[in-house]
């Protein structure tokens, strides 16, 4: 590209050019930004605390996810896929799933990617891929897998850092309102749960301070292909996920957030698609 043409009127080639590149880098169109963020979280957690069950298992999840994506994209749509999404799916599976075995990582990644190609309606897949994979594994194979449930280290600072950096990036990607709606609703409902159960509020809110929720909030509920259209509907769906989660939590379901998104997400997407097609239909 000719920089003279690309540069706007009055822009200097030095400062404003750098700003422009930075702006483009942090724009919603940059598909490498979410993978970069999740990689940073993973590397930080692994280097500082050794959080992964094993690096090999995470690599297996990532590799499986990308290979299945390539194969299915070639076979089903005849194109070479952009692998950012598969990479995020694989890395999410590698972090969120805990198992002493290898096979759950490969199976979960495969199921996640497969769900994108199979569980579709009106040209869109309905489930967030890694949410589908992880939820299925937790539900069907509880003897072999569990979800990430521990804290990364003992300090508050890693958690605060991830929340801050993640929030800034998600804000730039114009999806911060989804995270904020979910977190706000979760906090409010955790107080209600605390009142209902008689448990300390801090115990009800404790999960939010763990790394699993960082991934859940930044990567699962904000996934563009599986969120509804419009600012307000997105906020409403995020809040509905938190409400469903509260219902599950009050019934003692350990993996409540995954199942809540598993239940609410596709229904919301289907409604969104139905409304969209009705609007698009000629009167």
């Amino acid at each position: 590209m000719n920089t003279a043409v690309a540069r706007g009127p009055g822009e200097t080639p030095t400062t404003d050019g750098r700003v422009g590149r930075l702006s483009r880098f942090f724009s919603p169109n940059n598909r490498y930004l979410p993978p970069l963020l999740i990689t940073c979280i993973l590397l930080g957690g692994q280097l500082e605390f050794g959080v992964l069950e094993s690096a090999g298992r995470t690599l297996l999840a990532i590799a499986t996810s990308m290979v299945v994506e390539i194969v299915l994209a070639r076979v089903v749509i005849g194109k070479w896929p952009h692998l950012a999404s598969a990479y995020i799916t694989g890395i999410s599976v590698g972090i969120l799933l805990r198992s002493p075995f290898l096979w759950p990582y490969a199976l979960c990644s495969s199921l996640s990617i497969l769900s994108k190609y199979v569980l579709r309606w009106r040209g869109r897949h309905l489930w967030n891929p890694s949410n589908f994979g992880v939820s299925s594994m937790l539900f069907l194979y509880p003897a072999a897998v569990a979800s990430l449930s521990i804290q990364w280290g003992n300090s508050l600072w890693p958690m605060i850092t991830v929340w801050c950096i993640g929030s800034i990036i998600i804000y730039r990607l114009k999806r911060f309102h989804i995270c904020a709606s979910y977190v706000g609703t979760f906090l409010l409902l955790s107080w209600i749960r605390s009142e209902v159960t008689g448990n300390p509020w801090l115990s009800a809110v404790a999960p939010l301070t763990g790394p699993m929720y960082q991934l859940f909030v930044f990567f699962m509920i904000t996934d563009p292909p599986t969120t509804v259209r419009g600012w307000l509907p997105q906020c409403m769906v995020a809040s509905l996920v938190a409400v469903a989660e509260m219902g599950l939590r009050l019934n003692g379901v350990v993996d409540a957030p995954y199942y809540a998104l598993f239940l609410v997400g596709p229904v919301a997407n289907a409604v969104d698609l139905a409304i969209g097609s009705r609007r698009a239909a000629p009167s």
Binding site: Y117, L138, Q151, L202, A206, G252, V254
Partner: protein, 596 residues
């Protein structure tokens, strides 16, 4: 291929992926159950266990610690330890006796003297080693025996969440409390302890591992901030102590000098020579974090311990270590280490670890628990290796179960909710949801995994008679009838002491060794014995503490299968002397004294 068939194939793939492994594992389980039924006959396993505690005169029920009311919300969880069992022949009459700890204020420990006729009688009170739970002194957690003054009689050390106690054995007639002049500290919130001769001077030294932080007093605590700061990276537990035996009845704290700086939450320790250099190393199984392996090395100012958990791989993945026992599971002449952890379907699947060295003496380990079928037990505590069916391969007995409360009440959800939280939340007990009598991994069964000799173990616990679901803590193995079969003694938290008498199939041969050191410590702790027969070799080492809050019989027991003879026995004494025995008699206990 057109679009519709493609979609159908993909849908089929998705369904197969979702449910295929499920159907496979169900089919496999059915097949295993059929095999279990077919093999129900005791003859197939070469052994059966019969619970005979009551019939043998053992009527002991453990009572749990009582805590400060500020901790009431999670008291069952905190007060979940204290049941221990250690085996000792305290009076040198040739019959192994059983010592068990109790934990509620005012409750008594028991020493069951083996009368040699299948009956036991409690003599702890008359010998002065019963009343160790006096209010204000803390609660008993475990005991470990060894002859620290080399007078030929095993002395007693009782570790507590409280004041540690040392008793001198007065020739099997009485015990003298020598704590006050021994130099031991006034208070240690100990989770484990063992005897070892770390400097090779022929006198046994004492290692004690703290569990709770040193400032904690569970009976009366000014603060509720006593919990670990992380459930996988906890490092705010109790300090470690190594006391050098000065040879005059006193012990000197040399912990800092030798480099033992861990403050992890240790629940089990075993001292053994992992690198074949003749000196005992230390393996620590830590709750809320990684295990630690301390290698005993020569330093410029004496012995030093260097921690190599990470590089050896045993300290790579943080779990909830609650057991440390060693065994030559492959008859390869190398000691593997078994660490128990927590596995609960759908909540936490840590899996137990079997750390197998890549070669004898190698300090690189691989976890083969899954491959060998001994990974999933439940909320696991103590485990011991021993050849229970005398087939020549070490089997594994594992006890499980954490808190059995209301059968229909389950605390797992609340537990998993808070343990994912930040340290500032979880480290304060008052933030924890109240248990209200609910169970947490309660009513779990024990496992007896028989070693098939082909690298696989299979669980026969139900078939051979181990059916209780008390909250198992400690397990010890001992040939209580001197008949060549290892009996199993299980201490249950808040439950009865269980004595499983072992009936081994006739025709299975065995050999036992009772070692006495001369230049080495009299208990021969640290001695290694290699038995060669039928073209195979098995290594065992004399240890004090083994498992969780347990000590096995001092003798070493080897099953020989149907072999009629042993080719050679090699004994490496702690002094370094090597002794070889050619074709010693089998089906008998061989008393061996260290040559001059």
């Amino acid at each position: 291929m057109s679009k519709a068939p493609k979609q159908a194939v993909l849908a089929l793939l998705l369904v197969a992926g979702l449910f295929g492994p499920l159907l496979y594992s169900r089919g496999k389980r059915r097949a295993e159950a059929d095999v279990a039924r077919q093999q129900a006959a005791v003859d197939r396993y070469g052994m059966s266990l019969e619970e005979v505690a009551e019939a043998s005169g053992i009527h002991f029920v453990h009572s749990i610690p009582v805590l400060d009311p500020k901790l009431d919300n999670i008291a069952p969880m905190i007060a979940s330890m204290g049941a221990s069992v250690s085996i000792v022949d305290y009076d040198n009459d040739g019959w192994d006796d059983i010592y068990v700890t109790n934990s509620s204020p005012g409750s008594k420990n028991h020493l069951y003297r083996n009368l040699g006729n299948g009956r036991f009688v409690d003599v702890a009170e008359q010998l002065g080693i019963a009343d160790l739970n006096k209010p204000g002194t803390g609660v008993c957690v475990g005991a470990v025996w060894a002859d620290y003054d080399n007078d030929g009689y095993e002395d007693l050390f009782v570790y507590k969440w409280g004041k540690p106690e040392l008793f001198h054995n007065d020739h099997g007639k009485a015990f003298t409390r020598v704590t006050d002049r021994s130099g031991l500290p006034d208070w240690i919130n100990a989770g484990a302890a063992t005897w070892l001769d770390y400097d090779g001077d022929g006198k046994l030294d004492l290692f004690i591992a703290g569990y709770w932080p040193d400032y904690v007093r569970l009976e009366s605590t000014p603060t509720t901030k006593i919990m670990p700061n992380s459930f996988e990276y906890g490092n705010n537990g109790g300090r470690k102590w190594l006391f050098r035996n000065m040879g005059d009845g006193t012990f000197k704290d040399v912990t800092r000098e030798v480099g033992l700086d861990s403050t992890r939450w240790t629940l089990a320790v075993i001292a053994a020579d992992f690198n074949n250099d003749g000196m005992p190393d230390l393996f620590l199984a830590n709750d809320y974090g990684v295990s630690q392996l301390y290698i005993n090395e020569a330093g410029p100012n004496g012995r030093r311990f260097r921690e190599i958990g990470e590089e050896s791989r045993v300290g790579h993945s943080p779990k909830s270590g609650m057991n440390a026992s060693v065994g030559d599971v492959l008859n390869s002449g190398a000691l593997s280490i078994y660490v128990s952890n927590i596995s609960e379907d759908g909540v936490l699947v840590q899996g137990n670890n079997l750390w197998v060295p890549q070669a004898p003496g190698s300090l690189r380990y691989s976890n083969l628990a899954s491959a060998m079928g001994i990974e999933l037990g439940g909320w696991s505590f103590g485990a011991q290796f021993g050849d229970l069916n005398n087939d020549g391969f070490l089997d594994l007995f594992l006890v499980n179960g954490y808190v059995s409360g209301k059968p229909d009440g389950n605390y797992w959800y609340d537990f998993s909710e808070i343990t994912g939280g930040n340290s500032s939340i979880i480290s304060d007990a008052k933030n924890w949801p109240a248990m209200r009598g609910r169970s947490l991994a309660g009513f779990q069964r024990k496992r007896l995994w028989l070693n098939g000799g082909d690298g696989r173990f299979f669980d026969v616990s139900q078939a051979v008679g181990v059916t209780d679901t008390h909250d198992g803590r400690a397990v010890a193995l001992a040939d209580l009838e001197n008949n060549g079969s290892l009996d199993v003694i299980v201490a249950n938290q808040g439950g009865p002491l269980m004595l499983y008498r072992n009936h081994v199939k006739p025709g299975r041969n065995w050999i036992e060794f009772e070692l006495k050191g001369r230049a080495s410590n009299r208990s021969a702790i640290g001695a290694q014995v290699r038995v060669k027969w039928n073209g195979q070799e098995q290594l065992q080492e004399v240890a004090a503490a083994s498992g969780f809050a347990a000590e096995n019989q001092r003798r070493l027991h080897f099953g020989l299968g149907e072999a009629k003879a042993v080719d050679r026995v090699t004994i490496r004494w702690p002094s370094g002397r090597v002794q070889t025995l050619e074709s010693p008699p089998i089906d008998t206990i061989n008393p061996i004294e260290e040559p001059k």
